[in-house]
Assembly symmetry: C2
Homo-oligomer: 203 residues x 2
C-alpha cells in the first residue's frame, strides 16, 4: 500500500469499509476513480453527501423518504387498510418491484435478535401499534424474513396484535417459483408439503 | 429503482459506473452508505475529491505522485541505472510489493493496441526514449504484461531502443510459483519448456 500516494491509500481505506469490498477491489475502484473524469468523481462524491443529508425516514411508515411522508403513504390510490410489515427498506423495494402489494407499509428497521441485543424497543414496533390503535387498518400482513429472527419477530407481533380488531396474516412459505426440489433444504420442503394446497377435489 | 428516493437512485447510478459493480451491488453499497455514520460518509466523499485533486503523474517516471517527482524517483538508495517499464501504476505497485526490483520505473499508461486505436503517441514512449537519451541508464527491463498487447509493446520498444547503448531485458515467462501444471494453458507450458533452465550438468 505504501507504493501509492497517501491520498490514494486513504480512499482505498474508506472504500474497503463498504460491504463485500476487500482491499483488492477497493484498490481497483480507487484507481478507476482516479482515472475517471473530474465530473464523474465529483458527481459520485456529491451524491454520497446528498444521500446522507436528504434522506429521512417517512414519518408514517419509516420507509425512506426525502420529506415528511413517503410517496407510498401519500398515494391515495393505494389501499390504506392493509399494512405490510417488513424488516428493511430494501425488503419494501423488493415487494414494490414484484408489484404484488397495493397497500401501505411499515418498516421495522430490523428484526428481534436477543443474540445481538436487539429487542422490541430497538425496532419501530411501538409505532406500528400506534398506527393500529388509530384505526382504519383492517389487516396487518407480516412480511418479515423467513429466517429465525424474522419468524420470531412475526410471532411476537402476532401476540402483540391479538388485542386489536385487525386481521393478522403472514407471507406464505414454500418452494420458490422455478425452484428445483432437489436443491431445496429439508425445512422448506417439509413446510411446503405440510401447507400443500388442494387443486382438485372429487367430492 | 423508483421505490427509492431520487437522491438514493442517483447514488446507485453513480456507484454502478464503477468496474465490477452492477445494479444490485450498487444498491447494497448505497444502502450501506445511507446507514453509515455521517463521518464515514463524509470521509469517503472527501477522499474521492482529494484523490482527483492531489494526485498527479510523476514528472520523471509518470507513476502516481502528489507533487513533482515520486518517492521512488527521489530515493537515492535505488538503482537509477535500471529502468523497469510497466503499463500501469498498479503494475508498478505489484512489483514494489514483491520487493523484486530496486531500480526505478517508467509507466507507459497503457499498451499498444491498434484494435482500440492506441498507438505509440498515446503512451509515454517518447518520454522513455528521452530518458534513455539523457544517459545514465544501463538497462531497460520491459515488464509490460505478457498478453498480446504487452508483448507487442515490448517488441516495439526493443526495436526502438536498438539504437541506444542500453541493455534491454524482458521479464521472464513460465509456470507461476505454486502453479499446478494441469491447470496451466498450453502456450505458457510450451514457453516454459522451451526456456527450461539447467540445474545440474554432468560435464
Amino acid at each position: 500500500m505504501e507504493f501509492y500516494p497517501p491520498s490514494l491509500v486513504r480512499l482505498i481505506k474508506h472504500l474497503s469499509k463498504l460491504p463485500g469490498i476487500g482491499q483488492k477491489t477497493a484498490t481497483r475502484l480507487a484507481l478507476h476513480i482516479l482515472r475517471s473524469s473530474d465530473e464523474d468523481a465529483k458527481a459520485l462524491s456529491e451524491s454520497i453527501l446528498e444521500v446522507k443529508n436528504k434522506i429521512r425516514f417517512c414519518s408514517k411508515c419509516f420507509g425512506l423518504s426525502e420529506a415528511g411522508p413517503c410517496r407510498i403513504c401519500l398515494n391515495k390510490n393505494r389501499d390504506h387498510t392493509i399494512v405490510c410489515v417488513v424488516e428493511h427498506p430494501s425488503d419494501l423495494a423488493a415487494l414494490e418491484k414484484s408489484g404484488a402489494f397495493k397497500g401501505v407499509y411499515h418498516v421495522l428497521h430490523g428484526a428481534l435478535s436477543p443474540m445481538n441485543g436487539i429487542g422490541p424497543d430497538d425496532l419501530r414496533i411501538k409505532e406500528l401499534i400506534e398506527r393500529v390503535k388509530q384505526g382504519g387498518i383492517e389487516e396487518v400482513a407480516l412480511a418479515t424474513n423467513t429466517n429465525v429472527e424474522g419468524e420470531s419477530t412475526a410471532s411476537y407481533l402476532v401476540q402483540l396484535l391479538k388485542g386489536y380488531p385487525v386481521r393478522v396474516t403472514r407471507i406464505a412459505t414454500g418452494v420458490p417459483v422455478g425452484g428445483d426440489l432437489k436443491y431445496l433444504d429439508e425445512v422448506t420442503l417439509r413446510r411446503a408439503m405440510e401447507r400443500r394446497e388442494s387443486r382438485f377435489c372429487r367430492d
